[in-house]
Every structure is written in structure tokens, then in C-alpha cells.
């Protein structure tokens, strides 16, 4: 069932990346392209095992770069680093309130673009950056916080939906007679 959950998460990553690319309204109004992956990775890393986190980082970064001029798998290392760090600190992170969920999502949205930009510059690429990039970064932080508020209940619901349910017993279990052992001395 965990494999099915992983597949569902990958599907969510694929659809959300595609939707962000096809939906041009934020770009037209705010001049910003939204990235749903930091928020998704945040939510997944708080609930899923490390294997799922690694698979999501690999699949999401490779499929995202297929729609972009980015080098292949640019966001692989940033996404995995984020997922890994959050996963090993799951117990010390509060994520049950709206405010903390938003803050965590915003934090994820702040870190991923910075790490991606550092990687781009490290491999001698010339991305389009200017003062307006600060606005794009700020808007990305806000949108990532908001997307976290959507992904938290979505992934929780998916997790519960694919949770292993006990098989129905072939007999009535409402009344059970527990017979005590009789010890004969």
C-alpha cells in the first residue's frame, strides 16, 4: 500500500508541475512562475519514508526539467536536501496548525530557489536574474506557504485512503466470548 501512496504522490507532483506550467495567469499578473514542488516535498517528507522522498526528488526534478530550459535534474539535490533535513527533524517540527504549516511551506519555498540558483551559477549557466528576482523570490515564498496549506490535507487524505484496512471477518465479531483457560493442577 505504501507503494501505491508513493505512486499517487508522484502523480500529484506531475499534475501540479504541469498545472503550474500551463496556468499562465500568475505570470501575467505577478510576473512570477509558481513552483509547487518545495511545498509538496515538505509535506511528503513529514509523512513518508526516506525511499519515497528520494523517489519524489528524482522523479519531480527530472520531469520538471523536461518542461524547462533548466539543466536536467537541477532541482534534484535541493529537493532531496530539503526532504532529508525535514524528515530527520520530523519530531521537532510542529506541523499541526495552519500557521506552522504556512511557515514551513514558505521556508521550503525560500530555500529551493536559492539552492537551485547556486547550482546554476556553479555550473556556469547564465540565468535571467535582476532586482525583480527578489520580488519573484518573495512571491514564491508566499505561494509555497499557501500551497503547503493545500498539500497537507491532500496528502493526509491520500495517506488515509490507501492505508491498509483490516480484512472483514467471515463471521460476526460484535459479540466475542473469551474463554478462560482452565488450569488443572
Amino acid at each position: 500500500m505504501k507503494a501505491f501512496l508513493t505512486l499517487t504522490i508522484l502523480l500529484v507532483a506531475l499534475i501540479s508541475t504541469y498545472a503550474a506550467s500551463a496556468w499562465s495567469l500568475p505570470k501575467q499578473i505577478l510576473g512570477v512562475q509558481l513552483d509547487p514542488l518545495p511545498a509538496l516535498m515538505l509535506v511528503v517528507s513529514l509523512r513518508a519514508p526516506i525511499a519515497t522522498i528520494a523517489i519524489l526528488a528524482i522523479f519531480a526534478s527530472l520531469t520538471q526539467s523536461a518542461l524547462s530550459s533548466n539543466p536536467l535534474g537541477l532541482s534534484l539535490l535541493p529537493l532531496y536536501a530539503l526532504g532529508f533535513t525535514i524528515h530527520i527533524n520530523t519530531h521537532s517540527l510542529s506541523h499541526y496548525h495552519t500557521g506552522s504549516r504556512f511557515a514551513l511551506g514558505a521556508g521550503a519555498g525560500a530555500i529551493i530557489p536559492l539552492m537551485s540558483l547556486a547550482l546554476l551559477l556553479l555550473i556556469n549557466k547564465e540565468p535571467l536574474i535582476g532586482w525583480f528576482s527578489l520580488w519573484q523570490w518573495s512571491a514564491g515564498i508566499l505561494s509555497s506557504g499557501l500551497m503547503a496549506l493545500i498539500f497537507f490535507p491532500l496528502i493526509e487524505w491520500l495517506d488515509k485512503s490507501v492505508e491498509e484496512q483490516p480484512l472483514a471477518a467471515p463471521f460476526d465479531t460484535t459479540t466475542r466470548i473469551i474463554r478462560h483457560h482452565h488450569f488443572h493442577e
Binding site: T17, A22, G31, A57, T63, A66, S68, L74, I129, G130
Partner: protein, 268 residues
């Protein structure tokens, strides 16, 4: 805590990351094609939805509006046919003169309409995805136009879609000529491009340039990637700096690609 899954996952990701950054551009493009195929059902669904919505929108347009539009289009068609006849004569004359002067004939381009189906998901680049690809005859470096102005070139092709690098993208530098002065430079992005997608920079103009604000810019045809004479935009200001060997000018592009839904691909 069992550390083994963590070590294995980290090692796999690190190895894959290393492969991604050291892979050749050809293999990278091939891998992008493979991973891009995951989106095929989504692109198909989007195309079907758009076709259906177009059909439904056409169904609800009143007959009177359609008739009025039809009459208007017929008038426009007559005017365009007259202009076409005139241009055909000029084209024939041009071909004959080129033959007499032994100048190589100009290649003819066949414009093909395509729909924009996506934009670059990152803020670092300016590119769009269109719904025609290598199966439709699209090739890398083919020019893409809209509303009578150049907007970019084909950067990558897939079977049923292509990616267009827009003017102002760091990877889309083109040679351009100022119509009034005949001086040429290289059109490139600047810091303002990210704020306003219609802003760019014309580099490597002569120091003694006569270019002025308002001068029109066209493709130069150098490098034979773009045909000569496609409208690009106009000069906003010439920025002369003392001690520099060249001058640059800020440029306002003719077309804002952020507002487009369809583009013309100039098929060879």
C-alpha cells in the same frame, strides 16, 4: 534508527545528481524527451479540453454576429487579395532580377499556426511550449513570430511539441539591424527583461552610432538562422559610456509573449 535506507537513498540521489550535471547536452536532451513523455496524456487532455471549449463557444455565438463578422472578413479578404496580387508581381520581378544578378534566391517560409500549451516552470528562463513538434516538421532554430514581430526560436523539439526560447532569454541572442542607420548589433537580455518581458538590449553597436530612440529594429539575416527583415521592436534609448569600445541601446520588443495564446512558426 536503521541508517541503511538513508545511506542508500542519499548515495543514489548523489550519484544521479552527478550524472545529470556531467551528462552530454545530447544525452540530456534525449533524457528530457523521455521524461517529457510523462506529460503526453496531460497535453492531450488540455488539447481536447481547448478544442471542446472552442466548439462550445462557437455554438453559442449568435447567427447575426457571425454574419456580420463574415461580411467584414470578406471585405478584408478582397483587400488582402489585391495586395497579394501586387506583391506576387513584385516577388516575380525580384526573382527575375536575382537570377539576372546571380544572387542566391531567398528561401520561402511557410508560416504554421500553433498554440502555446505551457511556459517555463522556473523564473530563470523565458521559454514556452507549443503544440507542434518534430512529427510536424519543426526543427531546431526555426524562427517563431506573433502579431507581425519575432518572438523567439525553436530551442528543443519533441514528437508532438516544441520548446521556444523567447527573445530576452539568455540562450536566445540574435543579430539585429537598425532600419534607419543600417548598424547591426546583438540582441540580448538585460536586468529589466525579468521585470518587463518586452525589454531587451542591443549590444555591440559602434561608439559613433547615429541610432536614436524610436528607430526600428529588424533581424539582420546574419548567421542564416533567421530570415532578414523580421520586425523585432524599436530603440528606447542609446546608452553611450565614455571609454567603452562599443555602445548599447535598450530595446522595446514589438510583441509581449506573456499575453499570447498562439504563435506562427516559420516552417522552411
Amino acid at each position: 534508527m536503521n541508517r541503511r535506507p538513508y545511506l542508500v537513498a542519499t548515495a543514489v540521489v548523489a550519484l544521479l545528481g552527478l550524472v545529470c550535471f556531467t551528462i552530454s547536452p545530447e544525452s540530456s536532451a534525449q533524457a528530457k524527451r523521455v521524461f517529457g513523455s510523462f506529460y503526453t496524456p496531460l497535453f492531450s487532455a488540455q488539447k481536447t479540453a481547448q478544442t471542446t471549449s472552442d466548439y462550445l463557444a462557437n455554438q453559442v455565438v449568435p447567427r447575426r454576429t457571425l454574419l456580420k463578422e463574415n461580411i467584414e472578413l470578406k471585405r478584408q479578404n478582397e483587400i488582402l487579395e489585391l495586395k497579394l496580387g501586387e506583391l506576387s508581381n513584385l516577388s516575380h520581378e525580384n526573382r527575375v532580377l536575382r537570377q539576372q544578378l546571380k544572387i542566391q534566391p531567398k528561401p520561402e517560409w511557410k508560416p504554421r499556426l500553433s498554440r502555446i500549451v505551457g511556459r517555463d516552470p522556473s523564473n530563470w528562463w523565458r521559454s514556452i511550449q507549443i503544440d507542434i513538434g518534430s512529427s510536424d516538421g519543426v526543427k531546431i532554430d526555426i524562427p517563431v513570430m506573433a502579431n507581425g514581430g519575432l518572438i523567439g526560436r525553436i530551442q528543443e523539439t519533441y514528437q508532438h511539441r516544441s520548446r521556444v526560447a523567447l527573445l530576452g532569454d539568455p540562450v536566445c541572442r540574435i543579430s539585429a539591424t537598425i532600419a534607419e542607420t543600417k548598424e547591426s548589433g546583438v540582441l540580448s537580455s538585460n536586468g529589466g527583461t525579468i521585470f518587463d518581458p518586452t525589454l531587451a538590449e542591443l549590444l555591440y553597436l559602434p561608439v559613433s552610432t547615429k541610432a536614436r530612440a524610436g528607430d526600428k529594429i529588424y533581424t539582420s539575416g546574419f548567421g542564416e538562422v533567421f530570415p532578414r527583415g523580421i520586425h523585432i521592436g524599436k530603440i528606447l534609448a542609446v546608452e553611450t559610456a565614455t571609454g567603452e569600445l562599443t555602445t548599447k541601446a535598450s530595446v522595446k520588443l514589438a510583441v509581449n509573449p506573456s499575453l499570447l495564446n498562439e504563435v506562427w512558426v516559420l516552417m522552411p
